[in-house]
């Protein structure tokens, strides 16, 4: 039995921060970057590594958070940082964690728990890198976190649609035209739900939103402390890609949750917990706002007709009313229907 489960290195025990006043002042992602005004993903980077602390290695796959953050000779990273290829966040996290594990075991490196975080954008994570992330999450013997910062397009290359671009959004690969108003007809992938459901040995999967900064940082801390490979999906409003005034980033992050478009939840050792505003909505302590309020603040949906908005609303309603687990598991069972009435 002892041989059945491979040992894992101890992790850093990072405690949850109780309130914004308990957040450390130290920054590990500082000046030197050149992200856009109002960039929510840059905030995610800053909060992510602030939560993790100085004994952390960060691997970043190609995307905005590579190109804009690490200009030669003006890196914004205080902790060690390395580029990885677009589809390689899973492999980067696993390779680094494997090296630390074996070098410490063989006495070639001083033993200490070192956080490993590999981040990817929605293109790198949900399109090209999905296979490597999936594989990485099946290796419980290595400690690392994969953080997907989702600004809902290939924003670095000029706003092209990705597997996580919402239905109907205007991108440079899906411009509304005279013959086709809606060019992008695919529904956004449910990445966190898919990874949580598909990787039973993964101890922690969460969705986060940096508009709720302390909650977001605490989830990073939990993911790093719990051990094994873990996954966090962050929804990041993007002024350039979503086409809105940069001062609205924070508000749009809140609206995504309030409208029920972006459910906040964590799956910890198999236990699903909704949290924050999402929990209030699920428990009927708060009302979902209409998606119209969320969509029409963004230029990428400016071409939407009322019918388009109704369709979008109906899909979100379906997520909350028909899904087996609202916002997480997108199917229902025949079993429920077949039950004889009590």
């Amino acid at each position: 039995m002892a041989d059945a489960i491979e040992t894992t290195l101890p992790t850093q025990q990072l405690e949850a921060m109780k309130g914004v006043k308990k957040v450390p002042l130290e920054e590990f992602f500082t000046s030197g970057h050149r992200t856009c005004q109002g960039c929510e993903s840059a905030l995610v980077m800053k909060l992510m590594v602030k939560a993790a602390g100085p004994r952390t290695i960060v691997l970043g796959s190609t995307g905005c958070m590579y190109v804009a953050n690490t200009t030669y000779y003006s890196t914004s990273w205080v902790v060690p940082w390395m580029h990885t290829q677009l589809g390689s966040s899973g492999s980067a996290g696993m390779g680094t964690a494997a090296a630390l594990k074996v070098l410490m075991r063989k006495g070639k490196m001083k033993e200490e728990p070192i956080n490993v975080i590999a981040f990817c954008g929605d293109g790198g994570g949900a399109d090209m890198g999905l296979s490597a992330i999936s594989a990485a999450l099946t290796h419980p013997q290595y400690n690392f976190l994969i953080l997907l910062y989702d600004n809902e397009s290939y924003a670095n290359t000029d706003i092209q649609l990705s597997g996580l671009t919402p239905y109907g959004a205007h991108t440079t690969f899906s411009p509304p035209g005279k013959a086709k108003r809606i060019m992008h007809r695919r529904w956004k992938k449910n990445v966190a739900g898919m990874l949580a459901a598909g990787h039973p040995e993964c101890r922690y999967v969460a969705t986060v939103d940096a508009s709720y900064a302390v909650e977001m940082m605490n989830r990073v801390r939990k993911a790093l402390t719990i051990g094994g490979p873990t996954f966090i999906h962050s929804l990041d409003p993007c002024p350039k890609g979503w086409d809105y005034d940069p001062m609205l980033s924070h508000e749009l992050g809140e609206l995504a949750v309030d409208a029920g478009v972006w459910p906040l939840y964590e799956v910890e050792n198999g236990l699903l917990k909704l949290y924050g505003r999402t929990k209030q909505i699920a428990e009927k302590r708060a009302r979902r706002k209409p998606v119209r309020d969320f969509l029409l603040k963004q230029g990428r949906f400016a071409h939407f007709t009322d019918d388009d908005i109704d369709y979008f609303q109906a899909k979100i309603d379906e997520m909350w009313t028909k899904w087996l687990i609202p916002g997480v598991i997108p199917f229902h069972t025949e079993l429920d229907r077949d039950q004889p009435p009590a």
Partner: protein
């Protein structure tokens, strides 16, 4: 094999084992105390990973052994492990190697001293298991050191040398050991396995120094550059590849001292060239039929020699040109193709012609495409090529490129 490896730990002397080329490289991984190894199946290279897996499961090799979900991940995982200070091993064949191509591109650019085995295999389509050299040759411009070996002993020895060269701070470039599929990966021969103690003396620990990715050394690796710095960074790699020649020479000299096996010129082997009128040039296991044919032709008084190129990158152009300049005609046997290339020959022929151009003595060069898809290079094939060379040496006009051993 278990027996073969167990002895290593206890015996101060080398011992013999009957093993394949793949197995020889697996043994080298054990001797080199490799830290992280990633596997993904594709024939024929994957036999090395089967042997590695046995070493791991029997507790004879302490490493992180990860079965990846694709070749791309396979190479990316070890790339990152190496950046964090681990000695790594990887490998692939044919289209598997091509699937990893993005990772293969960034590995030398990041100065990662990975050692990989390529079990040379024809590229799809159509599917074919047999040897062609196009897979490994595809990385020839990227900063990979490329060495072809032709027997299991040389495979083992070269793997140890490859770690020493790749991990030398003057080089810090990856090295791929190319082994002909089936002919070497799957064929057994008698191999002398050195004791661990000798390897320790030969191979210092991997020290990534100021390039180590660790909280004690908080560097940013591969930040975004554009026209303002990229050219200088490329030049660093160019200089490293140039220095690799010196480091390879030193490594072979040291290897001969410690292990008692002297390979002479590390870059290419000469066979019966001293008095030769014409020579054939090739890489890998085709040396066997070539050498047999040469012995037969010598018996008929035909002075044919052979130059087997080991290190294709770095390519020792001046030295090779000076050697080839001694002969009346030179025939290059390519176990690869390069469609639309100069004189529609193969990669090796194009490189050798380029190497000869600035040389004082430029014998006529005939290119031969032979043994593709694992087709056997036969003794009569070699005799036919040699006859053409002898005619060219006599001043007779010959075609610049000929496909040999092909249905008419």
């Amino acid at each position: 094999m278990a027996q073969a490896v167990e002895k290593v730990a206890t015996s101060p002397k080398e011992h013999d084992a009957l093993i394949s080329g793949s197995e020889a490289i697996a043994v080298a991984c054990k001797l080199a105390d490799v830290d992280v190894i990633t596997a993904y199946p594709i024939r024929p290279y994957d036999t090395v990973m089967q042997y590695v897996a046995k070493l791991v499961s029997n507790g004879e090799l302490d490493c992180e052994y990860i079965v990846a979900e694709s070749e791309h991940s396979q190479f990316e995982i070890v790339k990152h492990a190496s950046a964090a200070g681990a000695r790594v091993f990887c490998g692939s064949s044919g289209v598997g190697w091509m699937y990893a191509f993005e990772a293969l591109t960034v590995t030398p650019a990041l100065r990662i001293p990975m050692v990989a085995m390529v079990g040379n295999r024809a590229l799809d389509d159509p599917g074919a298991f047999g040897v062609e050299h196009n897979d490994a040759l595809a990385v020839r411009d990227l900063g990979w050191q490329l060495v072809w070996v032709d027997n299991a002993q040389e495979a083992l020895d070269t793997a140890l040398i490859a770690y020493r060269v790749a991990e030398d701070r003057r080089v810090f470039l990856p090295c791929a050991i190319a082994c002909d599929g089936a002919f070497l990966t799957h064929s057994q021969s008698q191999v002398k396995i050195p004791p661990q103690e000798w390897v320790k003396r030969f191979l210092p620990p991997y020290n990534r120094g100021d390039l180590l990715l660790h909280p004690d050394n908080p560097i940013t690796v591969a930040p975004q550059v554009n026209e303002d710095w990229l050219m200088e960074i490329r030049k660093h790699n160019d200089e490293a590849m140039k220095r690799s020649k010196t480091v390879i020479r030193e490594a072979y000299a040291e290897f001969a001292k410690i292990f008692g096996r002297d390979y002479g010129n590390p870059f290419f082997e000469e066979y019966q060239t001293q008095d030769a009128d014409v020579v054939l040039v090739g890489m890998g296991t085709l040396s066997m039929p070539v050498k047999v044919a040469i012995r037969r032709m010598r018996a008929e008084g035909k002075k044919v020699g052979f130059v087997r190129i080991r290190w294709f990158r770095p390519f020792v152009a001046e030295e090779l040109a000076a050697t080839l300049g001694r002969f009346k005609a030179v025939g290059i046997i390519d176990r690869d193709f390069s469609f639309g290339s100069p004189y529609t020959s193969g990669v090796l022929a194009t490189e050798v012609r380029a190497a000869l151009y600035p040389a004082e003595k430029r014998p006529p060069v005939l290119a031969f495409i032979c043994g593709l898809g694992g087709r056997e290079v036969t003794v009569p094939d070699v005799q036919r090529m040699s006859e053409m060379l002898l005619r060219a040496a006599a001043g007779e006009r010959q075609p610049l490129t000929t496909w040999v051993g092909i249905r008419e």
